[in-house]
Point group: C2
């Protein structure tokens, strides 16, 4: 088995950290308790381990290929996607009204992780479709919903997000794609979009492009952007496919990683104009786009966790198999499997602790999402929405940044073999590199964290989280074990570092934006480090309690050991980040531009 | 120009940190003062910028190819290597007696950096040849020297290092290649070697393999390993090439990076035995091999600096060209070049500070090497040798680890374009990943630092370096500028962290090897961070002095700004590393093996 889904760890997080029992008290989620979670995860594991994971290496060796405007995906992808659709996996978190299963994100996020561990390239197609579904659910007219949603939710068709243009990457104010209103209420779309993931492929009957464009006469900048549906094939009133729309894939990119996922350049309107349907109101495209983006940002964070988990599993396997050198403690008087060497353990523990910490963070964030959207109490919805919004840049930014370190360590554990492509460890290293870039670079996430999530409310949300962390520190001290005390100490230091930074950010963003934004990414890294560490602290407390109750001793001991490692080797980075942010801002911008 | 050699920064380090004037007082180096250094570096820059750098992308797109035992290198490599040889670059640091130029390493190391910045894959061929030359100079018989040295030093032939076998990577005790003594004093070699860089190619008339093998009846383990010369073509008494020897390249690897450099599997003795000539005495192969390795380890450290420099230059270029979003401080009321964004500056400054810090560290180490080998005073030779030996694992380990971060940031600065192979930033990211692995992984360097370089002398050498650093802190405080005080503060904290760790290592390696080796790589990272930071502190002091003297204001201001950035954003990591090493050892090894 090249991938074994970490179902036990996922269920631990879902049960004890995300508290699925509370999610299951929300109307509509009554059947979505722990038993359902366990059943869905088992089924999901079976599918991804058996069907999707085996295609991962093949996708890297034999990527999507473009010819005359057509894209042929890796052999096996099309069939696997059919199985994915027929299994109902695309619709897991989407409303039953449109053919979905209506499960909470608390469960769905674990399934998304499995799919991405199995095959990052394959998983991107459903990931983008989810974004299109979210946008249509939120802002689509009844007609658009009726025409497109069920097809997307059932995986019969797939969706894309068309934001980027050659001159407009992170800066959507520069979008130039035009939309000309037509007498029949439709629009004609003209322009070029780049970096369109699964912008063209052969895995589904139709592709539903969600496209940002500017209606003639719209205001300059982001306030003049509208969102359109542009189907690859026109759709008849009866849902039948009609003529080819005027959107064409003119090339796909040659990339460092995720090679199986076609990254398309799409040309709209070269033959008279692509037919587009306005989503919601004109000039509100950016707002709707953020709905897609927020869903996608969380999902990309999960991709980071997923590729880290896969890299970890591969490294552990190699470390147990590869025999090389005697252990330094003399415990074995011959060359031994390299997992006996302390530095190999350190690397594997680093990989494991990061992965479990970020998984726990993402899982608790998912529960907040469910409550934010479905809780019957308005205040609970608001509080959870605030918490979730704070988490999105951390889940996206921190989980993907850590995945770069984890996949690099994965290669390192393999030594020289890691550098040989056939070994497979290098693929994760290459694949992961896109995660800190797409759906908003780490710097963009950090801007969001600084501006909208911290400065705007004067640091209130951040401070409230710090207060909750302080409470956990109290529980750790009350436990009094060596592990809990070690965790409490490092957690407190990291929390204090975080509070200092929050004060700095809240106090200076307006007056000294350069100083604050000079430390925005380090702030994100500190916040992510702390929040993931906090979840490991909560996990440690749960594991100690269950261990005492005699439950699953090996698992609980491993959780405690991993949490302590996180505290002593990862949380310890926090004070240094604080110093760099609060006391080192000037040196970021001191160099004269022409001295670079 | 795709690469511009940083001649000014190199000469600054050579003059003010490595103190070339002192090197030029050593007998034999009288002509190797600053003027010579400047002349050589200018010439070297011209050659590498013009001839070697343009082949870098081509080598990645069109790597070495194997067919029927022959390896064809990238078009242009052969011709460029002839120019390299004819320019005398191979012999730069080698004795004039054998056709070299006899220049000090203080100058040579800068030339090695340029060659590697220009083209990491190309530079590997001379790098391995240097190792073979060192081994023959140290342990070769007069006959071997007469037959091989001049051909190698002039670049007519090239050399290789044959250590690794499928079952013996880091663990040379497992070497199984056999050497059978023949009546004529030669040996017949039988076995398989893997990962042999430039083990077969078309760039030179002959290839001189230095091969580790076991003479029949030799002791088990590393004490039974001998070193042999095995030429690809037999060499006649008159130096003419004769029959093909029985060593054949059966395949080359498909790698993540450095694709242009052929990584060969060599089969010795499939047709009766390859003729080998013993180097030095039987069973002393490991000792000689370490001579090659130490030279190569330093050079691989320089490779890290080199690829970091190249990645930095490319990122700066992109950041100055790419227009995207308004600056947060409102200084420009339109989308601006991304270098105006604080986080882009932070990334570029991180890349720059790491690169300059490691360059300064390598340059001072090179001067110590020159004194260690050539100083007329025995005590000076000994002291410098001790210092240099301490530096080797830092130059190798720290400079290569930082190159992973720097090349990753290089991709990140490019955003989505960084992930597209045609952009070129991804190549540096892929190429760099081998540097922390070959010539001894970072863990192997760290073992060396812990065992031979720290524990063996009870931490004396390390403490002596700490004392020198404390002296620099005093000079910084005496200067009293804001930059010098900021540097002094961070340097002192890092130095204290280092001393704590040295005490821990010296005090516990024997009794608690697992605890110490659990922190060996973090110790290496802390030591490298500190020593590179110390050199930046020295550089800061020099730059302040020269600035006052009115010398090259822009350069000196940039040096001061970069040094302060190093202090406030890189040195600040040191205390966290200390905590992880000294207080976090147990959590590295706490997890049960079967829980991984």
């Amino acid at each position: 088995m090249s991938y074994t889904a970490p179902v036990k760890d996922m269920l631990f997080a879902i049960e004890h950290l995300a508290k699925i029992d509370q999610v299951a008290q929300i109307p509509g989620f009554e059947d979505a308790g722990l038993d359902t979670a366990a059943a869905v995860l088992e089924e999901c594991a079976k599918f991804n381990e058996g069907v999707v994971a085996p295609l991962n290496v093949e996708g890297d060796k034999n990527p999507s290929a473009w010819k005359d405007g057509q894209v042929t995906t890796t052999p096996g992808f099309k069939e696997a996607f059919r199985q994915f659709a027929e299994g109902g996996w695309q619709g897991l978190q989407h409303p039953a009204d449109f053919g979905g299963q209506g499960l909470p994100k608390t469960i769905g996020a674990a399934c998304v992780e499995m799919l991405n561990s199995a095959n990052l390239s394959f998983a991107l197609c459903p990931l983008l479709t989810d974004g299109a579904i979210e946008a249509l659910l939120t802002a689509g007219s009844d007609e658009l919903k009726a025409t497109y949603l069920e097809k997307l939710v059932t995986g019969e068709w797939t969706g894309t997000m068309n934001l980027t243009e050659p001159q407009a990457g992170s800066d959507l104010a520069l979008v130039r794609t035009k939309a000309e209103p037509q007498p029949d209420g439709t629009y004609k779309i003209f322009g070029t979009k780049i970096f369109i993931t699964y912008g063209e492929h052969d895995m589904a009957g139709n592709i539903v492009h969600l496209v940002l464009a500017r209606v003639a006469g719209a205001p300059e900048g982001v306030k003049g952007i509208s969102l359109f549906v542009v189907p690859k094939f026109m759709v008849g009133a009866d849902g039948s496919l009609g003529a080819r729309n005027d959107v064409h894939c003119v090339s796909i990119e040659h990339k460092l990683g995720i090679k199986a996922s076609p990254t398309a350049v799409l040309q709209f309107g070269d033959h008279g104009g692509a037919v587009g349907y306005l989503v919601g109101e004109e000039n509100r495209g950016l707002e709707y786009m953020f709905i897609m983006m927020n869903a996608a940002r969380y999902a990309v964070g999960v991709q980071g966790i997923a590729v880290a988990e896969r890299a970890y599993q591969k490294a552990v396997q190699y470390a147990k198999d590869r025999v090389q050198s005697r252990p330094v403690d003399g415990s074995i008087n011959a060359s031994a499997a390299i997992i006996h060497h302390p530095d190999v353990k350190r690397m594997l523990m680093t990989m494991r602790a990061y992965t479990e910490g970020c998984r726990a963070m993402a899982s608790t964030a998912a529960a907040a999402y469910d409550a934010a959207h479905h809780h019957p109490d308005a205040q609970a919805r608001k509080d959870n929405a605030t918490f979730y919004e704070f988490m999105v840049p951390l889940v996206k930014g921190y989980s993907t940044e850590m995945s770069l370190e984890v996949t690099s360590l994965g290669v390192q554990v393999h030594g020289g073999m890691g550098f040989i492509e056939e070994t497979g460890a290098a693929q994760y290293y290459r694949d992961a590199k896109i995660l800190t870039i797409y759906e908003g670079t780490t710097a963009i996430q950090a801007n969001d964290l600084v501006g909208r999530k911290t400065a705007r409310d004067g640091g209130q949300t951040a401070k409230a989280i710090a207060a909750q962390i302080e409470k956990t520190e109290g529980e750790l001290l009350a436990s009094g074990t060596a592990e809990a005390k070690a965790m409490a100490r490092r957690l407190a230091a990291a929390r204090q570092a975080f509070v200092d930074v929050v004060d700095f950010v809240a106090g200076h963003t307006k007056a000294s934006p350069n100083a604050v934004f000079s430390g925005s990414v380090p702030y994100l890294m500190l916040a992510g480090n702390l929040v993931a560490g906090w979840q490991m602290a909560r996990a440690l407390l749960v594991a100690e309690r269950l261990l005492q109750a005699g439950q699953d001793e090996a698992f609980m001991r491993a959780k405690i050991a991993t949490a302590r490692f996180y505290a002593e080797h990862i949380l310890v980075k926090a004070p240094g980040l604080r110093d760099a942010i609060v006391e080192g801002a000037d040196s970021v911008t001191a160099l004269a531009l022409d001295a670079f």
